[in-house]
């Protein structure tokens, strides 16, 4: 039985040819930063070595500057984490794409169940996932306006909650 460290090291070795950089943010986690061109080869390396399973696809909005309410930033990126788990170890492949060119390749040819996570990414963040088999909306209503991506920081809900620490 491999130890946690051995499992993480194995992943690190598999991914090393594709990584721009990597680090260990927590004792059980390895984060590997990649360019989008290396996403498919990196996923392939993990799948072929049967390293763990794809657990979650997480999108994070990274606007260029702190936004005033209601403002949209032209600059900015979406970061996507593809988190794979094996036992207690979690390896996240991290890719950033700019708003102006928010396109990623689909990993569904390698992992069919990624379709649901990719659909969510598309509608919540406005990332175009090329080659994904199903581009229909997953959780937003058909009547939800095109081009409005709820999990981007620039989206401000109409009746937002204001009972925070500042009072009100």
């Amino acid at each position: 039985m491999s130890t946690l460290e051995e499992i993480l090291q194995k992943a690190e070795n598999l991914l090393q040819p594709f990584a721009q950089s990597s680090n260990r943010p927590e004792s059980n986690r390895l984060d590997v930063y990649l360019s989008r061109e290396n996403l498919i080869p990196a996923v392939k390396a993990l799948v072929e070595a049967r390293w763990g399973y794809l657990s979650t696809i997480t999108g994070i909005d990274r606007p260029a500057a702190v936004l005033e309410e209601g403002q949209t930033s032209e600059q900015g990126e979406i970061e996507v984490l593809y988190s794979f788990c094996s036992g207690a170890a979690i390896v996240s492949l991290r890719v950033r794409v700019p708003y102006a060119d928010a396109v990623l390749p689909s990993i569904c040819p390698l992992i069919p169940s990624a379709t649901l996570g990719e659909r969510e990414l598309m509608e919540m963040f406005g990332v175009k996932v090329e080659g994904t088999p199903d581009t229909s909306r997953l959780i937003l209503a058909d009547s939800w306006p095109e081009g409005v991506y709820p999990l981007r920081k620039s989206f401000v809900p109409a009746a937002r909650f204001s009972g925070g620490a500042e009072g009100g």
Binding site: L140, S143, P157, A158, A159, F161, S162, G163
Partner: protein
Amino acid sequence: MGLEVSKPWQQVLDKIRTWARVNSPWAIHFNSGSCNGCDIEILATLTPRYDVERFGIKLQGSPRHADVLICTGPVSLQSKDRLLRIYWQMPEPKFVIAVGSCGLSGGVFHGCYNIVHGIDEVLPVDVFVPGCPPRPEGIIYGVAVLLEALKSGKRPERTMTVELPTGFEMPQAEVRQ
């Protein structure tokens, strides 16, 4: 840790028994986006400890046979159309019970972007049952309050204009005696 309800509740339930036998309301349940907490407590009213059916209150699946709509949830945007569709399929006289704090005001989800906040934004609500979730006894009590109104021949006073769901044809008027 028994399987019986407490004595005070038993007295409330006995009162309902009389009313329900007079009116035998048929209810339909709809979840408009709730966490399911209220819904499982509604379902619990059917199970042996509370056994609401013995009072003549019947939970069934067709809007066309329902007197009462028991609705939970903060009304997600997608469910709004379904909710309206059910309401318009119900014959008059009909009543709406909103169960849970989400149904009252959006509850803990206040400010979330995909909800309407409160069933009374969409439909005229006759009875609100607060709680997160309300206990099965509380839900039955809410139904009892409604049955009292039915028993005394009250008809709902409605000033609210209810939207039509998309593509909906107004059903023929059905008058129930």
